[in-house]
Every structure is written in C-alpha cells, then in structure tokens.
C-alpha cells in the first residue's frame, strides 16, 4: 500500500470514528469493542515485557540484598556455603561471545558479499537458501553435534597441535580436554554465522544499483566497487547485523552448555573449561538448593536480560538507520 492510500485510509477511518462517536456515544458499538479487544492484545506485549523485567528484578532481590555489588565482582560460587559471585559466568559469556563474533564477522560478511556481488544469481541463491536452512537448526542439535563430533576432533587433533606449537602462549596452555572455551567459541561461531550472513545479505541488497554502476563506469574492479560503493553504504547495517549476532551469541544456551565444560573459573587459556551465564541457569535452576541459590540464578538472568536488551536495541537502531536511508532514495 503506498503512502497516498494510507493517508486516504486514515482520513476515512478518522472520519468514520468521528461519525461513530457522535452516533453511538455511550451506546453499543461493534467497532469500539473491536478496537478495545485488539488494543488489549496489543498492550499485552508491553505488559509481558514489563512482567519479564519486573518479575526477574523482584526475584533477584534476596541475592541483591545479600551481596550487592560483590555479586558481580565475586568469583566464588558455592551453593553449600551460600556464597554467590557471578564473575566467572559473566567473564565466560563475554569472552566466548566476543571471540566468536570476531571470528564470525569476516567469514559472514565475506559470504554475504560472495552471494550478492560475485556469485552468479543461481549459485548465490542456492548458497543463501542453504545458509537460511541451517540457521533454522535448533541449538540442541548443534550441541549434539558439538559433543559427539566436534569435541573428539578438538581433543585428538586440534588441541594437541595447538599445545605443541603454540603452547608458549598463555592462551594455549593446559591439557587438551576437548570441552572448554575453544569448543564454545567454535560452536557459537558456527551458529551465528548464518544469522549475520543473512541479515548482511539483506542489507547489501538495499545498495542502489546506480551506486555500483557509477563505480564500474569509473573503471573500478569488482573489489574496488565493493570497497567504494557497497561497503560504505551498508556499513551501519552490517554493524547492526554483527551486534544482533552478538545478542544471539550471549544468550545462546544449549549448545554452549553441552561443550564448554561447565567449570566456573577465569582462565586465559582457551583450552580450559569455562562457564557462561545461560549455562549456569540451565544446569542449576531446576535443582536450586535454597531460595538464595535460585535468587542468585535469577540475578544472573537479570544481568543477562539487561545485556541482551541493550545489545538488541543498539542493533535495531543501526538497522533502522539503513531502512531509512534506503527509503530516502539511496543517498549516502
């Protein structure tokens, strides 16, 4: 529907509303009831969001009262003693997501560029739908593959190699367990690549053809066209895709829980087992031993919620920026 239609519609509807209000002031009106019903359902979305935030905040109060800021700075998590410090989980979540996003971004953007700018249309389309298909595979199946296929490979091939050749670095010290930070980074990377790729692809498709034609007309090679015309135009959209991927990565639960080793420790070595915020909730919440324990897990959930909300809102604004740019007629 174009803008004109919409305006006309609004004029008609608002006129209708006035008419209706005068005709049936205070009386029965199907339209008014219908409006109230749809409004009720629509408002429930806001209500749910408030319920989630407030509910989790309220449930976190016992832990907040007991530990205050020490909850975030403490590294000791002991359910028996009733001492809870969430730092190892926060560390594990941030490190695993950031490393995964750093590794995933060039691969995903490269693939999106290959699909939109280089590959013949049919091949590009085939790769795009394959990527889309794989984005739909649930987390628990990535975890199953990770635990039964990837971990043995890491343990027997990759990690011994890293220890032998790069063992002098603090990042590759320790025994090759298979499970650990490296495994988590790899599985998160594999899972978020399809998401970043498909959003980046959508962003690149909004680049006006005239923009690329101008570069080609100046004698630019394909790569120069990409660098001069495509990437600058899509920059904020691609950044949005990456930030959205980060939001996914940090909330990723099942696959990470299955491969990270679930040990609350802060270590520089990628080979050591670690733990993340969603993983500790997944593992401990159903069997929380005390009210304080479940409250501490709720507070971890709250921290996770706040982090993902901030990340997602940032991403939305970045991607909306592109949509507006596109609507404004393709000016940079």
């Amino acid at each position: 529907m174009n803008r004109f239609d919409t305006n006309r519609m609004e004029a008609i509807v608002s006129h209708e509303e006035q008419l209706r209000d005068t005709v049936s002031a205070g009386g029965f009106s199907g339209d008014r009831i219908f409006r109230m019903i749809t409004l009720g359902f629509a408002l429930s979305i806001i209500l749910i969001l408030l319920l989630i935030t407030i509910g989790m905040a309220v449930e976190s109060i016992p832990a907040l009262k007991q530990f205050g800021w020490r909850f975030i700075t403490g590294a000791n998590w002991d359910a028996v003693q009733g001492r809870f410090g969430a730092l190892p989980y926060i560390w594990g979540s941030i490190v695993s997501s950031l490393l995964a996003i750093v590794a995933a971004t060039p691969l995903a953007v490269g693939t999106a560029l290959f699909i939109t700018e280089i590959a013949p249309k049919k091949l590009g389309g085939a790769i795009a739908s394959l990527v889309e298909l794989l984005a739909a595979i649930p987390s628990v199946i990535y975890g199953l593959w990770g635990i039964l296929v990837m971990i043995p490979w890491l343990q027997q091939t990759v990690e011994p190699f890293l220890v032998d050749h790069f063992g002098f670095l603090p990042f590759f010290r320790g025994a090759p367990y298979g499970v650990g930070m490296l495994a988590a980074v790899m599985i998160i990377m594999i899972m978020i690549i399809p998401i970043i790729t498909s959003i980046t692809k959508e962003v690149l498709l909004t680049v006006p053809v005239s923009q690329k034609e101008a570069a080609v007309a100046l004698g630019a090679t394909t790569w120069e066209t990409i660098r001069m015309a495509v990437l600058p135009y899509g920059r904020s959209g691609i950044l949005g895709a990456v930030v959205l991927g980060l939001g996914r990565a940090i909330g990723e639960t099942m696959a990470v829980t299955m491969v990270i080793g679930n040990t609350p420790q802060i270590s520089l070595s990628l080979l050591d087992p670690a733990y993340t915020m969603p993983s500790v909730i997944a593992n401990e919440f159903a069997e929380a031993s005390s009210n304080l324990h479940s409250s501490a897990l709720m507070e971890i959930g709250l921290i996770l919620l706040v982090m993902t909300l901030l990340i997602n809102i940032t991403a939305r604004f970045l991607i909306w920026g592109v949509a507006r740019q596109g609507a404004a007629g393709g000016r940079i």
Partner: protein, 279 residues
C-alpha cells in the same frame, strides 16, 4: 600499466578470500547436516515412534513420549501465542500511526530478542511457583511467549500488503469497520498469515532451554497437563550428555526426526506463501 596489474591482482586475491570464506562457512554447516542424516537414519525404526526410552544399557527404545509431549506443548503454546499475535497485529496495522503502535512494535522487537532461557525463568515464576510443580502448561507458556512477537510482526507485514482500496470498497458498502477488518482485510491476508504462524511453530519446535525448568521432561508417558511432560528437544539434550552409546544413537535419531519435522513445517509454510503470490 603496472598499476592496472596490481589492481587486478588485488581484485583476484579479494575474490579468492571471499570464495574461501564462503567455503569455510558452508563446510561445518554441511558436515552437521551429513552427520544428522547418517547417524540418525541408522537408528530410526518403528520402535522409535512407538516406544518410550529404555533404561541405559538396554538397546532399542524410542522417543514416542517426547514426540507426543512436544506436540501437546506446541499446541497449547499456539493457543497462547497465535491469537495474541494476530489481534495485536490487527491493532498495529488497522490503527497505525498512533504513537502507542510505535511503542508496541518496539516492544515486540525487544521481546523477540530476549534469550529463550529467560522466558523459561519467567514461566517458572508465573506458573511453576504458584502451581507448586513443573508442568506441561508452564512449558507451553514459555514457548507461547516466544511465538507472540514472531506472529505479531509477520501478521502485521501481511495485513499491510492488503490494498487500501479493498477496505474502502467494503466500508463504502456500509460494512462496519470491525467486520471489514475481520472478513475482508484479515481474510485477504490469511495465507500469508498462516505461513508466518507455521514458521513460528517450526522455530519453537526445537527450543530446549525454556522447557528445562518448566515442562522438565519425563522418562515415561504423562497423562496430565499439570505434570512434568517429555519433549523431543529435552530428550535429545539429556541423551546427548549421557555417557551411553545407546542413548547417543537415540539422540541422533531424535535430532533427525526433529529436523525433518521442522523442515516439513517450513516447506508447507512456503507452499502456502507461494500459492498466495501466484494468486
């Protein structure tokens, strides 16, 4: 001339890098797919669809309770998520332009980004605690919360594609606005809406984290909605992290069945979508 050679060399290198990136991206994804099919296909038999899991050490057994449990939980989740999504979308598209609509749209986007394990925590607080126990209903609420924003946004997109002239024609005939909306606008967009609904169900069918402390899972058949209930993704998780070969085999079979069901639903959805664009 040298400049030209350097430029095309650079061009060639960058093209090669992008091609390599694509290969690197596709390799693990294709490997996962191959493993699911190869390992899963060998373990699927009639038992899988008719039996409940055997205790560890006994080979055979199936995931029938998980399949039925997933279907029951998904059905209840749809009852929560679909009406809320559709009626919310009707408000957004038919009364658009109000500031409130913007706020709701934004909330839906934010809600869609909330990690699924958090919806599990919320369903735990809202349902499990007051009902004093894990239950299938709680699992359905957790999944329903995930369905709502997806259905809302896809439905709104579809409703906006209905031409305004159609609404005007109906209004001009004297049909009240609410009947126009339900019988003309909604009906014209129905196929696209069904596509969106099916895709949202396919998406939550594999959700595991929200069920961990709501539906909890069950080794046996459960007859009540107020009791813990088995679900296919939960069984895949529990069997994958177990040390038993037999259970690993069941997990692969479960993964294959889950993927086939999800892709099946998406295929049906796409079929609906295509039929619409042709008509």
């Amino acid at each position: 001339m040298n400049g030209m050679v350097a430029r095309s060399l650079k061009n060639g290198v960058m093209m090669l890098l992008m091609g390599t990136a694509t290969l690197l991206v596709l390799t693990p994804l294709v490997l996962i797919f191959v493993h699911i099919v190869r390992e899963g296909a060998g373990s699927i038999n009639l038992d899988f669809f008719t039996n409940i899991p055997n205790p560890p050490g006994e080979s055979g057994g199936g995931m029938a309770n998980g399949l039925v449990g997933s279907a029951v939980i998904l059905f209840m989740a749809s009852l929560i998520g679909i009406p809320t999504g559709i009626f919310g979308a009707l408000y957004l598209s038919e009364y658009e332009g109000h500031r409130l609509a913007q706020v709701i749209r934004f909330s839906a986007d934010v809600l869609a980004g909330v990690p699924s394990i958090i919806t599990g925590l919320v369903a735990y607080t809202l349902i499990v605690v007051p009902m004093h126990g894990f239950s299938a209903v709680a699992g359905a609420v957790a999944l329903g919360l995930i369905i709502i924003p997806i259905v809302l946004r896809t439905t709104e997109e579809q409703l906006k594609m209905v031409p305004g002239t159609l609404r005007e024609a109906s209004l001009a005939l004297g049909v009240p606005f609410w009947r126009t909306t339900l019988q003309v606008t909604l009906r014209s967009a129905l196929k696209g809406i069904i596509t969106g609904i099916l895709l949202s169900i396919a998406r939550v069918a594999g959700e595991t984290a929200p069920l961990l402390f709501t539906a909890l899972g069950n080794q046996f058949w459960s007859s009540k909605l107020t009791e813990p209930m088995a679900a296919l993704p939960l069984q895949i998780f529990n069997f994958a992290i177990s040390p038993y070969e037999d259970w690993h085999r069941l997990a692969w079979a479960g993964a294959l069945v889950l993927v086939v069901i999800m892709f099946g639903i998406s295929l049906v959805a796409r079929f609906f979508g295509r039929e619409r664009s042709m008509g």
